[in-house]
Symmetry: C2
Subunit: 677 residues, 2 copies
């Protein structure tokens, strides 16, 4: 027998190979997805495989114990140094000596699937733009002179089939010493654009590089900036962190920032500096917390709304503040972080900005579309990304519509009397007993409810400091369900509601959640102003969704996906009670978490996904809320808090109290009329 | 008759067109080279043509007086405002109304030929990387949202067949206000790479841009930096200037700069700053002198030797100082001037660096090859580019060899006692009467010889300040021909030479050219040290040329081209007497002027030339002088000043004196033996 049958699992690819052929070589010839950074030099151990021995009659083979060459010194050295699971072999060392079935474990696949989120079990196939390659470069020969870069290009062409490379001056400056230090063997980080064009050398190291290779998925919101540090070799999120957007001092919502730029010459430059400094600080913090170096961060995918997009790029957002809301550029951008003025990553790192859909529907909406794929949905799905500006997508595989709605920052805890961002000590869950009207709550950083034993001790360190976005939504909905609010949103007095927790505050009332003033702590209430802020925010959200439903010609959606920087924390039940979203079966309202951030992470892990969303975006139909007369109408009509029992049978299990009306003649009741039901 | 025959001259292209078709439209359809920036809007007047009327029987047509539509208001307005040569029409306005012969004048051709130099009458076809395009951009529509950049791209695609564009952040930042200021009509400067890839928007202006569009051809030498400002619309050189390379303070020759980088940590950074600052200062000076703005300079083509190449890029040149003389990169580079740290041009301007041939044979040699095209020569041509480092090319259409030789800065007037750079007041021509031994000379800035009436008055302002490169070459050769030097290069005493101008200076003698010390002016002499410096320089030059001749297996070249920053000023006769170059018929020694600069200018005017030289360079065979044992041998043998009468019949008309020998036993005579003859 001079050759043998090799079957690779799970792909099932098979072929006959000469005895002595390394498993990695056979895999490459068959196009089997088996990783290798070192190219078969026995250094990187990425090509681990598990041979199967015995009877594989379903494949028509019987595998003898000596089907692979003997365990060798290179494998033993690797096992001694780093460990190797029993039964595993290195694909570059083990040679085919007889018919064999080879199992390629998930972690040895280049294009392995990354489970995106437990809920939907959608998976992303790893195909990052930046990968590492170990190459041996020919030494210079003065009789055949050529540049070191050109010989590196030649090596990548012959050893890795990389057709062409470019390198910036940073890389050129370190190329010669690195090649010589590595004795003409170097590891290069290559970035491929998903459009045509040469691979770009982002960095290189002498010999085999054992350090990390990371990317950042950044959700640059108007109020908060969230970043996830991903390992570009396996897609794992290794660290997440967030900060307030330092632009808040120029205006809490987008339009006030556009106004700032219009009213203050150079204002957009100030805001650009602020957001870039904020990003740098966040990245620097992540670098420290994740115990990595700036140099190891090779990429960032950034998603944001159009105003943040322009301000990040340094473009005056003035056109986004007035019809026809023209973007300077809407296509996806692939930039150097240096051009973006960001300095806390590898200086050659690349920044990818997803495309903007329209002047009010940004790269964040595109990222939500990438994460939730409404264009592949069989049923009509409403995706609502809740933030200072809400991005709303409605559609199915036939058609997808998109709009944005200016909800303001209330959902993120801003403009709320006791509001704060989601951080330890913030109330994030809240229930009000419908009979006693007493609240119980949970704060971030503690798993106990406030009425459970040990809560006081458990929160002694972190304190009870305020109420975050998801907490205020639950508080308002619970107040409504407990009969503390009427349909117009008016807080009843203690006399009306029968609880001393409804206390006077000016001409209106407030509901007292927690009072620690006796011990020098804060007094946390929900004021009438807070209710109004939430009503405005939820009306804007609801009106946007209704506008898209009108456009598609429906009164009913099949399912609702709640997303947002704090989307994972919004209780669908409470959102429904509040009337944030249109009617849908409660069981079909799901939380997608930070879908924009997830979309950013998908784009970070897959260049194919980048090409995909760029194509999808061109097919999404955009609706401009700012000029739609019906938007205003929907907005006004949505102000009330729906009478859940009547209009919403499914919620009747939850909302058990009869309608209350605290209308004290302050005129608030006039707007109570709702279009729905 | 519903259509008519149109014949375009000088191309002879012909076709039939419907009556009423504008001439520009007909030209475009036939692929006739007729310029237009405004695309036929009657704004730019680049499409001027001259119709011929009467009998064109050789073309088979008779042209009636009404073959073109009547002179119209647009043409009259243009003529009133800017003037128009009688008989000229605007091709976009004049419509075809009958059979006609249309002459396209040279200045209306996009790809017109630019006469490169009077001497060789080689011509370059204009095909610059950067061109202007006037476009009308669709206004934004909030119902069909797209970015302004994407609509600009669409306009360029539909109006100019430009497939794809990119724009940097600078351009993105000014895109929106410019489009609105121009009422959706803008002129864009587009840069095309000669490789594939999108056109890059370098700049844009509202409406029709009437300003300039310039490029710089920069010859970055070790000692001097010369720059030519070219009008990118017609190839004309509108201004030239030069400065000393500020790196000189780190070492006069290349190897001393490499040593500086090796000996001083961060030394290469200092030198990079110095040369970039020098370039910026030179460009700023040109901008002022040519009365243009920095923004109008869109491109620079830079040619230089490998050490300057690396130092300009910020790459440590240490590898270039030791075998195997590996370049960090040898391919041509197309960079942003911003990446090069240059700030005196348009911030989006591009810099193109020609490819390097080898570690000692740089982009300057490639530029010389581009200018002189030895690879297309029928006879064997030796091209010598004289500078601090001499680049030498030898070959014909079968094979081209290249090397460089370290001549040092003597030929540029440095290391010469009275040396100075070529500037007003410098002696550039010199003759010595063979009988009286009296000199006569000319200085830069005055057309009179020093013995002509009025010379003193004419030079009173500029003075007689020193001696430049071409002057010292003539001085040494004339001294030899006048019998003031022996074959070893020794200056005779007054007693030996019979002239009081040979004066003692230490243990040797000097020849007095000009003495103005009585009036506080300088005393200009040629010292024994000067002779030795010139001997070393010319020996290096000669040895390099001989090495290539050995390699190609010849003792004789068919012709010699002298080039260099001051190449136009070198007298072939004197170069021959000095033995700078190998034997060739005197009539076949020509000056090419600054061939490297010319090559840079060609690359500036033609992207095709860039592609061409990049291909040519790969076929040039490189010879490394530093390791060739025969180079040293040739160098030592070339030290003497050849006995021209015996060995060089053609020069006998010039060199009429018998051999002299002033050997005073100082040992100099020992190296007098020459290989030649």
């Amino acid at each position: 027998m001079s050759d043998a049958l090799v079957i690779f699992m799970p792909s099932g690819k098979r072929g006959r190979f000469a005895l002595g052929t390394p498993v990695l070589t056979a895999a490459r010839q068959l196009g089997v997805d088996l990783d290798s950074v070192c190219g078969g030099r026995g250094i990187c151990s990425r090509c681990q495989i598990t041979p199967g021995y015995g009877d594989f009659s379903k494949h028509g083979v019987r595998v003898a114990p000596d089907a692979l060459s003997e365990w060798n010194a290179v494998e033993q050295r690797y096992k001694d140094k780093r460990g190797l699971i029993d039964g595993r072999r290195l694909g570059c060392q083990a040679q085919i000596m007889g018919d064999v079935v080879i199992d390629v474990p998930a972690e040895s696949q280049v294009h392995r699937q990354v489970v995106r989120k437990a809920a939907s079990a959608h998976a992303v196939t790893m195909d990052p733009a930046t990968r590492l390659y170990l190459v041996d470069v020919t030494e210079p020969d003065m009789h055949e002179p050529s540049g070191d870069l050109e010989r590196l290009a030649q090596a990548l062409r012959s050893q890795w089939d990389i057709p062409a490379i470019t390198a910036g001056l940073d890389v050129l400056c370190k190329l010669q010493p690195t090649l010589r230090q590595g004795k003409w063997q170097v590891t290069v980080a290559l970035h491929k654009d998903h459009r045509d064009g040469p691979h770009q050398v982002l960095d290189l190291w002498p010999g085999f590089y054992e350090g990390g290779l990371y990317g950042l998925a950044i959700d640059l919101g108007s109020t908060t900036i969230a970043a996830h540090l991903c390992d570009l070799r396996n897609g794992a999120v290794v660290h997440s962190a967030g900060v307030m957007n330092p632009q808040i001092r120029f205006g809490e919502d987008l339009m006030s920032r556009v106004s700032y730029a219009m009213m203050n010459p150079g204002g957009e430059v100030e805001m650009t500096h602020a957001v870039r400094a904020g990003l740098d600080a966040l990245v620097a913090e992540i670098t420290v917390d994740a115990q990595i170096t700036a140099r190891e961060i090779m990429e960032a995918v950034i998603v944001c709304n159009p105003v943040m997009h322009h301000l990040l790029l340094g473009i005056d957002p003035v056109e986004l503040g007035q019809a026809p809301f023209a973007l300077a550029t809407s296509d996806a951008l692939n930039l150097s972080v240096r051009d973006l003025g960001l300095s806390a990553m590898n200086p050659s790192a690349r920044a990818y900005l997803l495309p903007c859909i329209a002047g009010h529907v940004g790269a964040d909406a595109a990222a939500v579309a990438l994460s939730e794929s409404p264009e592949t949905s069989d049923d009509l799905v409403l995706v609502v990304d809740v933030g200072t500006n809400a991005e709303i997508l409605l559609g199915d595989r036939r058609k997808v519509l998109a709009c944005s709605s200016p909800t303001g920052p209330a959902f993120e805890g801003a403009q709320i009397s006791a509001g704060q961002r989601a951080a330890p000590g913030a109330i994030e869950r809240l229930e009000i007993d419908p009979v006693t009207k007493e609240p119980r709550f949970r704060v971030i950083g503690c798993d106990l409810w406030s009425d459970e034993p040990g809560f006081a001790d458990a929160t002694a360190q972190i304190g009870i400091t305020g109420i975050c976005g998801s907490g205020i939504i639950e508080a308002v909905a619970e107040m409504r369900m407990a009969g503390l609010l009427d349909a117009s949103g008016l807080i009843g007095s203690g006399a009306q509601t029968g609880t001393a927790r409804c206390i006077p505050e000016g001409r209106t009332h407030a509901y007292l959640i927690h009072d620690a003033t006796a011990t020098g702590g804060p007094r946390i209430t929900v004021t009438q102003g807070d209710i109004r802020a939430i009503q405005l925010a939820k009306s804007a959200l609801y009106a946007g969704a209704r506008l898209l439903m009108d456009e598609i010609g429906t009164d009913q959606v099949d399912r609702v996906v709640l997303a947002g920087a704090f989307g994972a924390h919004i209780s669908p039940k409470h959102a429904m009670v509040l009337g944030m979203i249109p009617d849908a079966p409660l069981g079909r309202v799901t939380s997608a978490g930070n879908a924009a951030g997830t979309g950013a992470r998908i784009a970070l892990c897959s260049v194919a996904a980048r090409a995909g969303i760029e194509a999808t975006v061109t097919r999404i139909h955009k609706i401009e809320t700012a000029i739609a007369p019906r938007f205003q109408e929907h907005f006004v009509n949505a102000n009330a808090l729906p009478h859940a029992v009547d209009s919403f049978p499914e919620l009747s299990r939850i909302v058990t109290l009869p309608e209350v009306n605290f209308n004290a003649g302050d005129g608030e009741g006039g707007r109570r009329k709702r279009r729905r039901g």
